[in-house]
């Protein structure tokens, strides 16, 4: 069965949605279109998973109390 929406356009819209770069109207239309096409839902979920994984797994080195104190000392 052919997809309802153009693949390239779907991917572009998914990206814009997760980047919070859509207007309210575009976002509403996007969510409505997405739910009408299983392939669209699949792309959406893949992108969501990829972004959450990258965000959650990236190394976030800790900030030592010494660094905070140094900054406070220098800036006072």
């Amino acid at each position: 069965m052919a997809n309802r929406f153009d693949d390239q356009d779907m991917r572009k819209r998914v990206s814009l949605y997760f980047d919070k770069a859509m207007s309210k109207e575009d976002e509403t239309a996007f969510l409505s279109d997405k739910d009408q096409d299983p392939h669209f839902v699949q792309l959406f979920n893949q992108e969501k998973t990829a972004r959450e994984f990258i965000k959650n797994q990236v190394r976030r080195p800790s900030v030592s109390p010494d660094l905070i104190q140094n900054i406070r000392n220098i800036c006072r």
């Binding site: 919070k20 990829a50 994984f53 965000k55 976030r60 080195p61």
Partner: protein
């Protein structure tokens, strides 16, 4: 006169504590991924706060403190730390970027990674893959995908047009997924991209 001066100083310190210091963790993460080194990252963060403190009168209370601090840090890195970098000179990707700026939709090869691939990754792969990106691409991924800045905010932080932000992001994400896909291949996953299309044909 003294009273006025004291009031101003106190307000500046309050702003510093309540609006600027809460972003120290995010700044440290950004600095670490720019410099690849914990000590250099600490120096960068410290320098950022020193500059912010020096120019606190330029900051408007209640505006976007995080974006302001990230811009200061990015400039500090560009001005001082990149010169010291022992890493090889980066390849200039601006020609590629300029091409993609014209029309994102013409760029082929958007990559998908299946959910199960992520479930089998340890996490270090993400850090390694991000740090392997050229700096201009690494920066936009860190600012957008890790810190959640909008295109407009990123555009102001790195001083490039919004179209360039978008095209760099598009390319950076594909580069990142490509790197993660090679980890997936090493984990035993086969690259099935293109197979469905061939079967259709």
């Amino acid at each position: 006169m003294n009273l006025l001066s004291d009031t101003r100083k106190k307000t500046g310190e309050e702003i510093f504590d309540s609006e600027l210091l809460p972003h120290i963790d995010a700044l440290k993460t950004f600095a670490f991924h720019l410099s690849y080194d914990d000590d250099d990252a600490n120096d960068l963060v410290q320098e950022t706060y020193m500059k912010a403190h020096r120019f606190i009168d330029k900051y408007q209370e209640g505006t976007n403190a995080k974006a302001w601090l990230f811009k200061i840090l990015k400039n500090a890195y560009i001005n001082e730390y990149r010169k010291k970098s022992k890493r090889p000179t980066r390849v200039d990707f601006e020609d590629i970027v300029s091409y993609h700026d014209s029309d994102d939709s013409r760029v082929p090869g958007y990559l998908d990674l299946r959910q199960e691939i992520f479930e089998n990754m340890m996490g270090d792969e993400v850090t390694i893959a991000i740090n392997a990106l050229p700096m201009d691409f690494r920066t936009v991924v860190l600012l957008c995908d890790i810190e959640g800045f909008t295109y407009e905010e990123i555009s102001k932080i790195i001083d490039v047009p919004i179209g360039t932000v978008r095209s760099r992001l598009f390319r950076a994400r594909n580069m990142l997924k490509e790197k993660l896909a090679s980890y997936a291949t090493n984990l035993g996953y086969k690259d099935k991209r293109g197979r469905a299309k061939k079967e259709e044909e």
